[in-house]
């Protein structure tokens, strides 16, 4: 009996230890209607201290869940799961808007929107930020080991270097139908949003050819460790991951292929079934502050949607000074933004499985 008493007392002591935050959270309940925010984000896609600082400052609790593809996120949301803030990519936001899965934002609650960088203003999928506020943005390019691969060859061949048998067995290719067909279509000089069957067929053959000649390894996030360790010589990489790789391994360089690339952005949205939209707005506004954006971008390596942070990190003394992967190429004619196309995506997905199964 005595033992039980001691246990209970220590439990009470433990609980009261959290007392300060629990009183704060009742403030949060009063202000936002709830003290928990459910965030659905990509893995390793948030600053080191952002979440804990937000929790402390606003006296709330953030529950984060992770997805590794837009489609996985979409499937989960369709199954009825509810989140307050999600960070999907451009084409998926376009699709969710068209399917009425998102809430309109109350921009008066997000004054920090004025911090947005020029490169993420008026994005085609949501030009007036009615539904989304950009989080990170960038391009897709080639990371290569400049000791083993001549930079001049990379610049001259662009994506075609991925079919150059001098480097057979030394490449990482990105394992997603969107990115792989983007590379193939761009290499052939077509638009990555094409729905011309002949062009898609040609891209499919390009990928088959690449697959049989080069013996590539298909990866997603594993590319970050792989290239940081110098496992392969050439890889198709998202610019933010490239910035990270370049800061880890000085043998690596980044090139934005001359054939053009995917200009992408991920943005924060509030789904229609969010339980706590007020706190969600507060979170979005918080992410746009200088400190939070700085923490985010410096830690993750992706380009900040906050202009000042972007300038500070790429400028003199910044963590990504001199790393070209950090600053996305702006205004290049051949660069494109993905447009949502369900039928096309299904076709590409099936073709992509076939390429890999060969």
């Amino acid at each position: 009996m005595k033992k039980l008493l001691v246990l209970t007392l220590s439990a009470v002591a433990l609980l009261s230890g959290c007392g300060s935050s629990s009183s704060a959270s009742s403030d949060a309940v009063e202000k936002y209607g709830s003290d928990t925010l459910k965030l659905y984000n990509w893995g390793e896609y948030v600053g080191e201290n952002l979440i804990s600082n937000f929790e402390e400052e606003f006296g709330v609790k953030v529950i984060t869940e992770y997805f590794d593809s837009n489609e996985m996120m979409y499937t989960k949301l369709q199954a009825g799961d509810s989140y307050d803030v999600i960070i999907p990519s451009d084409y998926m936001i376009e699709r969710m808007i068209s399917e009425n899965m998102l809430q309109e934002l109350d921009l008066s609650l997000i004054p920090n929107i004025s911090n947005l960088a020029d490169g993420v203003k008026n994005l085609p999928y949501d030009p007036d930020n009615t539904y989304s506020i950009p989080y990170f943005w960038g391009t897709v390019g080639l990371v290569y080991n400049h000791n083993n691969v001549d930079p001049a060859v990379v610049e001259e061949q662009g994506y075609e270097i991925l079919r150059n048998t001098d480097y057979a067995g030394k490449i990482y290719f990105y394992d997603s139908e969107r990115d792989s067909f983007m590379v193939a279509l761009k290499a052939l000089g077509y638009s990555m949003n094409t729905d011309d069957e002949a062009e898609i067929q040609e891209a499919y053959e390009w990928l088959l050819d690449m697959n049989s000649k080069m013996d590539p390894v298909y990866v997603t996030d594993e590319v970050i460790d792989g290239m940081s360790n110098g496992t392969k010589d050439i890889a198709v990489v998202y610019s933010g991951d490239a910035a990270y790789i370049l800061s880890e391994n000085e043998d690596m360089s980044f090139s934005m292929p001359k054939q053009g690339t995917n200009l992408w952005s991920d943005a924060m949205v509030i789904p229609a079934n969010a339980e706590n939209p007020l706190l969600a707005h507060e979170f979005i506004n918080y992410v746009l502050t200088y400190d939070a954006s700085y923490d985010n971008s410096e830690y993750v390596g992706y380009t900040s949607s906050n202009q000042e942070v972007m300038d500070a990190l790429s400028g003199e003394g910044g963590a990504y000074e001199g790393i070209n992967a950090y600053l996305p190429r702006e205004g290049y004619e051949l660069d494109e933004v993905f447009i949502d196309n369900q039928v096309l995506r299904k076709t590409l997905s099936e073709l992509w499985i076939k390429v890999k199964a060969e």
């Binding site: 489609e71 499937t75 990866v219 496992t231 997905s349 499985i353 890999k356 199964a357 060969e358």
Partner: protein, 280 residues
């Protein structure tokens, strides 16, 4: 008796909701395609003809079965002696040895597979050790070897535990009788121990073959994505292309193949034990 029968009622509901309903849903999806706004779906065999008329999918199926069979055979060949040694050691050692077999399974399978990636990498543990002895580096990750190694490593505990259980259940007096009647060790193993442990091997096969044939993250992580198995196709139908109907159809095809192979192993089991019964 009547009132006891009523007590099973909650379980019937549980089974209906948790097992039967999802299966029916998968069947429904498999035999339909998404319709228009008026009818939400219509019945079709299209999903099945699509699978069987495409050489690529059939090749993937063949490869998946092949990998699963290889994995199962290696698990038996390695697992049986281990189980035998454990079953014939002292009781207090047995507990410890079985614990050693089971401890790795307490750790998440995904984490253990990631660990293998670190070990097999081009500059991973194995290659560092080889390099230390001056032996050139070998490519291990993203090969057939890596995929099969990962499968065997992950699934062999199930085989060992099943065989071990059936070996320890065996009545030792049969062996004594055999040696009294002049059988040597090999003879008594082949005539008594092996047939009597066969049910363990059979359930071991079930427990290894099933997850091996439908595994998708082991080939994905250790095979470098080039290694598309049937589980990967199903995964991509649900997660990337969003074609749940086709994904369900492939799942149903797999279920039928698995049921058929279960039936075959059960039949072999019965025949064998009938034969075993004669000799004993």
């Amino acid at each position: 008796m009547k009132e006891f029968r009523n007590m099973a009622f909650p379980y019937v509901i549980w089974i209906a909701v948790m097992i039967v309903a999802p299966m029916l849903l998968i069947l429904l999806y498999a035999f339909t395609t998404a319709g228009n706004d008026v009818t939400t779906f219509h019945f079709t065999l299209e999903n099945f003809t699509r699978f069987f008329s495409d050489m690529v999918f059939l090749e993937v199926l063949r490869r998946s079965l092949f990998i699963a069979i290889i994995t199962t055979v290696i698990c038996i060949v390695l697992g049986y002696p281990i189980a035998y040694i454990i079953a014939n050691s002292q009781i207090k050692h047995q507990v410890r040895l079985i614990l050693m077999i089971t401890i790795p399974t307490w750790i998440n399978m995904l984490v253990r597979t990631y660990a293998w990636m670190g070990i097999l990498q081009d500059n991973g543990l194995v290659n560092q050790i080889l390099g230390f002895f001056g032996i050139g580096h070998v490519t291990l990750l993203y090969t057939d070897f890596a995929v099969i190694l990962g499968m065997v490593y992950n699934f062999i505990p199930f085989m060992i535990l099943q065989i071990h259980a059936s070996l320890t259940k065996m009545d030792k007096s049969y062996l004594e009788a055999a040696s009294d009647l002049g059988a040597d060790k090999v003879q008594s193993f082949l005539k008594i121990t092996l047939p009597l442990s066969l049910p363990g091997v059979i359930s071991g096969i079930t427990l290894v073959f099933l997850p091996a044939v439908s595994s998708f993250f082991i080939p994905k992580l250790l095979g470098g994505g080039q290694y598309v198995l049937i589980g990967n196709v199903i995964e991509s139908q649900f997660l990337t292309s969003g074609d749940w109907n086709f994904g369900s159809a492939i799942s149903v095809i797999m279920a039928i193949i698995i049921m058929f192979s279960m039936y075959l192993t059960k039949k072999v089991d019965k025949d064998e034990s009938a034969k075993g019964g004669d000799t004993v």
